[in-house]
Amino acid sequence: MLEVQNLSMRFGGLLAVDQVSLDVQEHEIVSIIGPNGAGKTTVFNCLSGFYRPTGGKILFEDKEIQGKPDYRISRLGLVRTFQHVRLFNQMTVVENLLVAQHRHLNTNLIAGLLKTPDYRDRERKSLDRAAYWLDRVGLLDLANREAGNLAYGQQRRLEIARCMVTEPKLLMLDEPAAGLNPAETRDLNQLIISLKEDYNVSVVLIEHDMSLVMDISDRINVISQGRPLASGTPEEVRQNEDVIKAYLGEA
């Protein structure tokens, strides 16, 4: 469903991403790994529309999306999280999930002022969906807390729930396990697999935690210094000489 062909991103003289290609099929978890500064997050920023790539193509469901504005890409069903959690800290947990469902503001301005039945119905549905996902990630008890006051692991889960209420087709997670303890990482592991199995969402994952990557990925792409180094199943990547030298050997 996602196909990236020869993606390049240049900042002035620096070629941060050089001819990276990858693809994600439906019902699949694909990881991108690589040493720090390899350009993984830059790839994400290009995919999600924050950067306009300087070369290459990005096809999502057979439509070219490179260079489209970020909010449009998100509305197509390609939604991401961030390496450093970005929540709306002064809003409550449930409000964070409500905001994520507000794509079509203009149509309901008058309806909202008049509180039409249709509007109330929609508001109630948004709340229901928010409640469902809070329950799903185990944050329902904290629904009325300010998001900024949550523990780090809870913030990570809230960020994922916030993506899920938008009903994405492809979820992009940027180091979701960073800063989590082993138990939390195991839960996350379960959650990601469940997203794929139960909600039919494909996942692209950037991650440093090797156990997580090897456990849940269907396929892995390795990038080093902006260039693709290897790709394949976890087993293949584990045994790839270049990868061991460039990445695993270094760790």
């Binding site: 709306f88 809003m91 503001l105 809070l134």
Partner: protein, 423 residues
């Protein structure tokens, strides 16, 4: 400690002397083409010296003074109190607003004509400040050209009545919608700019509109402005002594009461009151609607909001347009109240005053903004001898607020949406 500070304190005192003595100590006086210099009054000179000494003393004993100030809150009886429960606070706020509205309702029947006129002005400022509050306080966009939309509303009514004989009631929605349209058209290209650039660009827009009004003489009357703007009518009843328009009746004749100039003033006041209440209610509703949450989300973290599919331009533009709409509202009322408008009334200073109201009241807080609008408009009238210091004090207050209490005197408390179905 004191010895260490001595050099710095002396330096600060010197600076105080340098920045105040030449400007305050000498008066330039123009006599024809000649300019002469006279010394200022002795009291001024003493004041300057005193100020330097105070600065010296403060800097010398800075640590001790700041330490003492730090212990002050202990004497504040409210300091140790638990913050109020949000739901109770919301209730209290709406109760205060209700009391205010009732007070406003009876006000014109208790006081003189001049006071009613002033109160109308207060209401106009409340509308303006509530509108700007949407843009600055809720959406976090610093708009320094807000007076332009106010001008659009006022000029729309003035021009429509002059050329097409359109009444206040028809001009009111037209003026507001036209101001909103201006907001939409001007906002569309600039809203993707970063915060401080946006501020300067809106300032530029405000100036451009004022210059155009000033120079498009054959339509707007240029600096001479437009006069003879009609008063509003009540179901076809006019408030003048004689009926100006055919088919209308006059208010005092219909009800068989003696003519009084006060009727008109009170009527206009009541219109302004109703409009201000509508403004406050609509904005309060918007704050709880998806669009209000989107403003807030974009203000808090633009990148996250965009990643969730919120269009930066659409969200910001909605705030900008709604703000402009209410400025247009206020402008129409203003034109009707004054009966005469000129570009003079729509200078940058006007924007600055409205911004000061929003900042002092607490960005985003409706009650705070309403109270600040009342205070800022009425205080200079109460203390007339200080009225020339008004803008000086505003400027200083804006700086002080930003340094000590950027959230304003009555900071905004968010109205949280609650999930009530917790098992």
């Amino acid at each position: 400690m004191v010895a260490q500070n001595f050099g710095h304190a002396l330096f600060c005192a010197m600076i105080t002397l340098i920045i105040s003595f030449p400007i305050l100590g000498f008066n330039l006086e123009a006599q024809g083409i000649n300019v002469t210099l006279t010394g200022a009054k002795t009291t001024t000179i003493i004041g300057v010296v005193l100020a330097s000494i105070i600065v010296f003393g403060f800097q010398l004993f800075r640590d001790a003074i700041m330490g003492a100030l730090g212990t002050l809150p202990r004497f504040n009886p409210l300091a140790g109190r638990e913050p109020m429960e949000p739901s109770r606070r919301v209730k209290l706020e709406s109760r205060i607003i209700t009391v205010l509205v009732v007070l406003f309702l009876f006000w014109p029947f208790m006081v003189s004509r001049g006071s009613v006129d002033l109160a109308t002005l207060v209401l106009i400022y409340i509308m303006l400040a509530l509108g700007l509050n949407v843009v600055v306080g809720l959406a976090g966009l610093l708009d320094l050209g807000y007076e332009a939309f106010y001008a659009v509303g006022a000029y729309t009514f003035a021009l429509l009545s002059r050329y097409f004989d359109i009444s206040f009631w028809l001009a009111l929605p037209i003026g507001a919608l036209l101001a909103a349209l201006f907001g939409l058209v001007l906002g569309f290209p600039v809203l993707r700019l970063r915060g401080d650039y946006l501020a300067i660009v809106t300032l530029g827009f405000g100036e451009i509109i004022r210059i155009l009004l000033n120079n498009w003489t054959n339509v707007t009357g240029g600096p001479n402005g437009i006069g003879g703007i009609p008063d509003p009518t009540l179901f076809g009843m006019e408030f003048g002594r004689r009926v100006k328009e055919e088919g209308n009746t006059s208010f005092h004749e219909t009800f068989g009461i003696a003519y009084s100039g006060e009727h008109k003033v009170i009527f206009l006041y009541l219109i302004a009151l109703v409009l201000a209440v509508i403004t406050a209610m609509v904005i309060r509703r918007l704050m709880r609607m998806p669009v209000g949450r989107a403003w807030e989300a974009l203000r808090e973290d633009e990148i996250a909001a965009r990643s969730l599919g919120l269009s930066r331009t659409a969200v910001k533009l909605s705030a900008f347009t709604i703000g402009a709409f209410f400025a247009g509202f206020a402008g129409t009322v203003f034109a009707s109240k004054q009966g005469f408008i000129s570009p003079e009334s729509f200078v940058f200073l006007e924007s600055a005053i409205i911004l000061a109201i929003v900042v002092l009241g607490g960005m985003g807080s409706q009650l705070g903004v309403i109270l600040a609008a009342i205070a800022v408009t009425i205080l200079p009238e109460l203390a007339r001898e200080f009225s020339e210091y008004r803008m000086l004090i505003f400027g200083a207050a804006m700086v002080l607020m930003m340094v000590w209490r950027p959230q304003g005197l009555l900071p905004m408390r968010r109205i949280h949406i609650k999930l009530n179905r917790l098992e």
